[in-house]
């Protein structure tokens, strides 16, 4: 490798201020008395400043809201679930209360219905617990799929 080839390889790092002090000084010294490396350096400089003043394209309002929409849909989905579950719980609670306090319904019918409801809760609950456990031990939770 000639001296010029050696220096030429350092010119980008020199331009970006990313060289070690030692390398920077070597380039400094060489550029002082080598016109062809100096010319190469000036051309790289012009490329850099040209690229630096290239326009930064901006999205249309429609594109922007599409991109930012990823937050909105995820958040509103969460709120939606919360409302749905809350609403359902309220309705069921009211139904149960009315059913239990309704004196026109036979006690045995109430007991039978109660047993079915408890069974459903137990089964549903165990499925939920299992799901949560799976989720916790899912090693790929944070890996993008």
């Amino acid at each position: 490798m000639s001296a010029c080839e050696h220096i030429e390889a350092l010119l980008s790092g020199y331009l970006d201020g990313e060289l070690t002090q030692q390398d920077r000084q070597r380039v400094d010294v060489h550029l002082d008395d080598c016109a062809s490396c100096r010319q190469a350096f000036e051309q790289l400089q012009r490329i850099q400043s040209g690229l630096g003043s290239m326009p930064h394209p901006e999205p249309t309002e429609q594109q922007r809201s599409r991109m930012m929409g990823v937050m909105l849909t995820k958040t509103s989905r969460g709120v939606g679930w919360l409302l749905a579950i809350g609403g359902a719980a309220l309705l069921i609670g009211m139904g149960v209360y009315e059913f239990v306090t309704d004196e026109s319904i036979n006690l045995w019918v109430k007991i039978g219905n109660g047993a079915v409801a408890v069974a459903a809760l137990l089964i549903g609950g165990s499925v939920l617990v299992e799901r949560l456990r799976d989720r916790k031990t899912d090693r790929y939770k944070d890996v993008e799929r």
Binding site: I47, R64, K74
Partner: protein, 159 residues
């Protein structure tokens, strides 16, 4: 996190437009990247450089898209960007160089193009670029230099 997402969107769109050459595709890629960032927001917030995290994901989305359509050209954007650039530019030689740069940048190998966009258009440091591309800092310097030298050879007349 919302502020972070805004920044990702703004900077990511610039990168994606230059990489994909088309604003709609760029918006798609950024949308995918933002969605990943939002889904992993705990990871992103605690990353030592959230922007590098986002760019790493976005860059991969862009590479996937480039691979998919491997041969479609990137001229569309460069036409649109062209008009905006010439608005404020008074110096004819400068304008000519800007035009040549745009054309040659779009024709460059994406591996070289991404170096120039990250460094010279977006002003990232070598360390940040190394982080985004998952390559050693020394490789950043040599690859970037090769990208600039290629551009220089192709631009000879305009420089």
């Amino acid at each position: 996190m919302t502020t972070l997402m805004e920044t990702f969107q703004r900077q990511g769109f610039v990168f994606a437009v230059y990489m994909l050459g088309n604003a709609d595709d760029a918006a798609d890629a950024v949308q995918d990247g933002l969605s990943a960032a939002w889904n992993h927001r705990d990871v992103v917030r605690s990353a030592h450089d959230p922007t590098a995290w986002f760019f790493r994901v976005l860059r991969n989305k862009c590479v996937d898209r480039l691979r998919e359509r491997s041969k479609r050209r990137t001229e569309e954007l460069f036409d649109a960007a062209d008009q905006r650039a010439s608005d404020g530019e008074s110096d004819a030689a400068r304008r000519e160089l800007a035009e040549a740069l745009r054309v040659e940048l779009s024709k460059l190998d994406p591996v070289h193009r991404e170096m120039l966009v990250l460094r010279d258009v977006q002003g990232m440091s070598y360390a940040q670029i190394a982080d985004v591309l998952s390559i050693p800092a020394g490789t950043v310097m040599s690859r970037l230099h090769r990208a600039r030298m290629t551009l220089r050879d192709r631009l000879k007349g305009a420089l």
